[in-house]
């Protein structure tokens, strides 16, 4: 083939490929604009409602509520998109994309999901919690490039006290005690905060390939390990138990078993849910745990299961994730 013929062939085929790529981008851009959902005034203040992120086609990503006893019933959908949402005591936190580019922000919401304030987040948001008083918000983001391990993820916890304006940017500077001894390492990762009160919390800490339940104190700037192989803890309304995901055989690659730890006896109870749960669970009431199970890339359901290991999982809210019980 002559050079001229090759140049023509290469030019023609390249143009065709570029045209196909551009066409796909244009089509994908229009696909997203689904018919607008009727938005309603959603009540996120304490009451007999479940707050969650909807994953139905017509209201994908929107924050919504359903009545306590009727999870699959009609939902009230807000005009607010969040990737992760949580609420307590008339305060809500929403982690959401910030503009068309891949950056994120934390939105502080009031009891009617009105935006009071926003803060830029660095990293991909993953977990969110509000302290029982509604004053302190906590979140976890995945950060890439932060790890010395080349391209791997690290996680970062942040907290914001909306009453005092105090922030915690990272827990990596806290004094760490592992099994009663002072501990220092550079490979500390923290994620999945759950609050006891405005200054005390539980969370996950990983170091040297192990994942610990830690108990933290914001005032003293300390954390200490409580148990091993605990991820994404969630404190029960009574404060006596912690629901968490336990890596099967200690290896997160094998999936997670939803488990409850009794803080007084330190006894672990595997719950009746046998599917792998990769979520920070929430408490429906003191006897029931709820969590999201992903069906596909863009669809998930919220299930509930008794917290004492008995019974069987049941579907609580179809096409939903990131649940919060507003009556707790």
């Amino acid at each position: 083939m002559s050079l001229r013929a090759r140049i023509l062939l290469a030019g023609g085929l390249s143009l065709a490929l570029i045209a196909a790529a551009v066409a796909y981008v244009v089509v994908a851009g229009h696909r997203g604009s689904a018919p607008a959902v009727a938005s309603a005034a959603v009540d996120a203040s304490p009451g007999e409602r479940l707050l969650f992120r909807s994953t139905t086609a017509s209201s994908y990503g929107r924050v919504a509520t359903v009545p306590r006893g009727n999870g699959s019933g009609p939902r009230t959908v807000a005009a607010l998109d969040c990737d992760r949402v949580y609420a307590a005591a008339s305060a809500a936190v929403c982690l959401r994309p910030d503009g068309p580019l891949a950056t994120y922000q934390l939105a502080v919401l009031d009891g009617h999901l009105g935006i009071k304030d926003t803060y830029p987040l660095v990293g991909v948001p993953n977990r969110a919690r509000v302290s029982p008083s509604g004053h302190v918000l906590a979140w976890t983001v995945f950060v890439t490039g932060d790890s010395y391990n080349g391209g791997r993820f690290s996680t970062r916890v942040g907290m914001l006290n909306t009453a005092t304006g105090e922030t915690v940017d990272t827990l990596e500077t806290y004094a760490v005690t592992v099994s009663g001894r002072a501990y220092r390492s550079v490979d500390l990762n923290f994620w999945g905060v759950t609050f006891v009160d405005d200054t005390h919390f539980y969370a996950t800490m990983s170091t040297s390939g192990r994942r610990y339940l830690i108990s933290g104190d914001v005032t003293a700037q300390t954390v200490r390990t409580v148990a091993e192989n605990v991820e994404c803890p969630s404190l029960s309304p009574s404060g006596k138990k912690i629901a968490f995901k336990e890596a099967i055989g200690g290896d997160p690659g094998k999936g997670w078993r939803l488990t409850v730890l009794d803080l007084a006896t330190m006894i672990r109870t595997h719950l009746a849910e046998t599917r792998s749960v990769d979520d920070q669970a929430a408490w429906f009431d003191d006897a029931t745990v709820m969590y999201a199970i992903r069906r596909s890339a863009k669809a998930a359901d919220v299930w509930s299961v008794p917290a004492d290991g008995s019974g069987a999982p049941s579907l609580l809210i179809p096409d939903a994730e990131s649940p919060a019980a507003l009556w707790n």
Partner: protein, 414 residues
């Protein structure tokens, strides 16, 4: 030399020694286009896994480990097969093709972690497969005295693609309303253009030397050549002083207290210096001696560690470190291949280059793991001092080895 299948002797015209062979520009274009494609995906992959699919970081870590092992073996096997059948272009094309198909695999994998893992491993396996045959084709396309610049031009084009990839990805995400699948489709189309350029414009000629066969015994005999052995061990020794980008940037970030959001810009700064310095340093290598420039690159790395070990901080220190770190890459990555090429017999050149690349890659891995442990035991300051000591020792040791690999013109012609 068997030249019957050569359409046009690409080399050997000594008067045009300073001109870059068309084949090198074609290979550079392939690398540029392919790097746009692959960096588009790497830039958004973590985001896609976590936000798009809701997967945890464990999956990503698992894939990361798999890939290091898989590429090392494939690189050696690919290099040997390319020499055995004397079809470097075919093996390189296979590598580029696998990576292009892997983009479609990412699209088809949907939410399946196993499918995504397989697609990522395939993508990186393709990269492992193509590197050595591509570099061998560059060495076979240019007269020896222009190799430094040829690799400089190739690496500059390559890093330009790596620079543009993330920007294209951001543009596609913005234009498509955050549709990750659109990024994969565009990346696949761009990768296909790369394969097209390779197929239509890159030339490869079999280099069969009468009486020389390519088999595993001959390949193993490469190590019996004193200079090849010295170069390999020298490269591995120097590789042991490179602690890895992640650590260098992390040390910078901690001392300068840079917000994590700016972290990726450290890599962008280094790429930019690499992009600008690759050609001048390659040309300098041709004039002043490749081994000198190569060792100079590691001296720049030593200077980076020395700065990190002092208390000098602020913008001046930051810019100086990034400048030196970019120079380190520009003076070592392509230049090593330019040093190695002429030392290896043409019929076993791909195997030899694959061996040296694999040796260095393993050395990098070992040194970054050791640095991680040192950091844990002695803290950041202690580990940095250890890196200074290690870099000084390895630089001195390998300087002795390298200077013995230098060829006299008479040897090169023999």
């Amino acid at each position: 030399m068997y030249l019957a299948s050569v359409e046009r002797p690409a080399t050997l015209d000594r008067t045009k020694a300073t001109k870059i062979a068309a084949n090198v520009l074609a290979l550079g274009t392939v690398s540029l286009v392919t790097d746009v494609s692959s960096e588009m995906v790497s830039a958004i992959l973590p985001l896609y896994l976590v936000v798009g699919l809701g997967l945890g970081p464990a999956v990503y870590g698992l894939v990361d480990g798999l890939y290091t092992g898989a590429t090392a073996l494939l690189r050696l096997a690919g290099g040997y097969i390319a020499d055995k059948v004397q079809r470097r272009k075919l093996v390189a094309g296979l590598g580029y093709g696998i990576s292009a198909v892997a983009k479609a695999g990412l699209l088809l994998a949907g939410g399946s972690p196993a499918g995504i893992g397989a697609a990522i491993v395939a993508d990186r396996a393709g990269k492992g497969l193509r590197t050595a045959p591509r570099d061998a084709m560059i060495t076979l396309s240019m007269p020896e005295e222009g190799l430094g610049r040829a690799f400089g031009v190739h690496r500059a084009m390559d890093s330009a693609g790596a620079f543009a990839g993330p920007l294209v990805a951001i543009g596609v995400l913005a234009a498509s309303g955050q549709a990750f699948d659109a990024v994969f489709v565009v990346s696949g189309c761009v990768a296909a253009i790369g394969v097209l350029v390779l197929v239509l414009f890159v030339r490869d000629r079999p280099v069969r030397v009468p009486g020389k066969v390519v088999n595993l015994r001959q390949a193993a005999k490469l190590l019996e050549r004193g200079k090849v052995r010295l170069l390999l061990f020298g490269a591995i020794l120097l590789g042991l002083s490179a602690i890895g980008d992640g650590f260098v940037y992390l040390l910078l970030q901690r001392r300068e207290d840079i917000a994590i959001g700016w972290f990726p810009l450290l890599a962008v700064g280094t790429s930019l210096v690499y992009l600008i310095m690759a050609v001048p340093l390659g040309a300098l290598a041709d004039r002043a001696g490749r081994t000198r420039v190569f060792l100079g690159g590691y001296a720049a790395l030593l200077a980076v560690y020395l700065i990190l070990a002092t208390s000098w901080s602020g913008w001046g220190a930051l810019v100086t470190v990034l400048l030196l770190y970019g120079v380190f890459y520009a003076a070592t990555d392509g230049v090593l291949m330019a040093v190695a090429g002429p030392l290896l017999p043409p019929e076993l050149r791909t195997t030899g280059l694959a061996l040296i690349q694999t040796g260095q890659a393993v050395a990098y891995l070992v040194s970054s793991v050791l640095f991680g442990l040192a950091w844990q035991w002695w803290g950041a300051a202690g580990a940095t001092r250890a890196a200074v000591a290690a870099a000084t020792l390895t630089l001195a040791g390998s300087a002795v080895m390298f200077l013995r690999t230098r060829q006299t013109p008479a040897q090169a012609a023999a």
